[in-house]
Amino acid sequence: MIVGSASVVIQYILDSIANGSLYALMALSLSLLFGVMGLMNFAYGELIMSGAFTMYYTHSWGPVGMIAMTVIVVVVMSLLMELLAFRPLRKAGPSTLLITSFALSIALQKLAYMTTNPGIPKTVRPYPWLTQQFEVSGVLMSRLEVIIWVMTIVLLVGMTLLLKRTALGIQLRASTEDFRMSQLVGVKANRVISSAFAITGLLASVVTVLFMLGHGDVRPNVGQGPVLVAFVGGVIGGLGSLPGAALGGFVLGLVLNILQATLPRSLQGHTTMFAFLGVIAILVLQPGGMIVSIRKLRRKRDQAAALSEGAPS
């Protein structure tokens, strides 16, 4: 068992990047809803859960049918969530929305318990050609990992284009920054919020497919763990900022994965605990997330540079 240590490190990093990518996508969708309507959506985990069950039940349709159906179900679920639970509470404060999403999350989990016969363990059967590992110059990779990287990049680029280049994107960004003002310039509240939920659903469906193809086990609470980690990542990066949250999710997923692999066994289990304790510290010390402090640093640097260039005319 003597492997070149460089390739071991590369191996960890590659695995961790795949893990981080999924969390980046999740944190991005969480921050989208948070920005637009102050909603910290606990029930995001249940979008993943509903997608996972869809995959389980439509597995026999073949990959294309299964994925198409999963995307449809998750997006529709997301839109229904908004319509039935959050729209009546549009005027409520963020804390009420938080409890609501908590209640919704539990309700959907219980609904899944009731309707899916939890006595029988369920797994989405993996596709061997996807998960089988092959060696590229001493590093093991699977097609799934490669697909995760590619999909994440495609989605992040797609999201960037959407947010920067389209009218809807500009409206979403404006609403994220100042929802009231965006309405005063004519943005329709229902339209941006529904769009945000639709985008959330779309991202969630992709995350679900990629996640379930690797992990397999379908349980009513399958979404809870990932969503908690994505939460934390979002907070670290700054939920108020879309790129910040995505970066936070990515870094956290990456770091957690690396720590899992490198820490001594006795401490491995505690990594998530430290992540959550760290979140409390960040909330108090740097509520805008790390991206805000980076911005501040950059502004200071700019100012210093401007000063040293000499007095303004």
Partner: protein, 236 residues
């Protein structure tokens, strides 16, 4: 054009505006001045649909607009340049302007208006790609006015557009408002700077705390009252 009748607005238990009645006629330039906390901003936010009144009515072109969503009120022709400008700091200057035209379908008209606005405010052209947060206060004010104008409003509401600006910039803002008025825009201007407001406005209301009217009159009438500023508003 705009009639505010017996309007009352409250925040929980605080009554910010009580039975306020004001009106603005087509083509008029009306000023609204008063103490801090008199309820001026509250009034404007209620007219534009952000706040719901506890009582009274707001008519625009003779029809009640109470209860309409802000975007619908904007569509009918009332735009607000809010207190503190509320520029979208993470959007570029260009995006800030474009989002002002959200309610419009006529692409040609928007392009035309955009050109006019960029001619009027060349700074905005120069900083087209700069993010809103990086503009100076005065530039942000130009941007806020430009953004509101892009909806091609028939009635423009402004909330303390000169707040925190350098004297030269204050002059510039009043100049712009005067120009807009001469070009036919109806304006309701909320200001702390009573003297300047009375100068440019056709008519000015003086508000007392709790949104009650203390005085109203044309600029000449108010000017004749001489020392009224120091006496009643307590501002120089």
């Amino acid at each position: 054009m705009l009639e505010v009748n017996e309007l009352s607005v409250s925040y929980g238990r605080i009554n910010a505006v009580q039975a306020l009645t004001i009106s603005v006629a087509e083509g008029e330039f009306v000023g609204l001045v008063g103490h801090n906390g008199a309820g001026k901003s509250t009034t404007l936010l209620t007219v534009t649909g952000t706040l719901r009144p506890a009582g009274g009515d707001v008519l625009f072109d003779g029809k009640s607009i109470v209860g309409l969503a802000p975007d619908e009120i904007l569509r009918r022709g009332i735009a607000l340049v809010p207190e503190g400008r509320r520029i979208f700091g993470r959007l570029s200057v260009g995006e800030n302007l474009k989002i002002g035209a959200t309610t419009r379908k006529d692409k040609k008209g928007v392009e035309e208006d955009m050109r006019k606005i960029l001619d009027r405010f060349p700074v905005l052209q120069r900083y087209w790609n700069k993010s809103g947060a990086k503009l100076s206060g005065g530039e942000q004010q130009m941007l806020a006015i430009g953004r509101a104008l892009l909806s091609r409003p028939r009635l423009l509401l402004l909330d303390e557009p000169t707040l925190g600006l350098a004297p030269l910039m204050v002059d510039r803002v009043f100049e712009i408002l005067d120009d807009l008025h001469k070009e036919g825009t109806t304006i309701l201007l909320v200001e702390q700077n009573a003297a300047r407001t009375i100068e440019v406005a056709d008519r000015t209301y003086v508000l007392r705390s709790g949104g009650r009217i203390q005085f109203q009159g044309t600029s000449e009438e108010l000017a004749k009252m001489g020392d009224f500023e120091t006496a009643y508003i307590g501002m120089g």
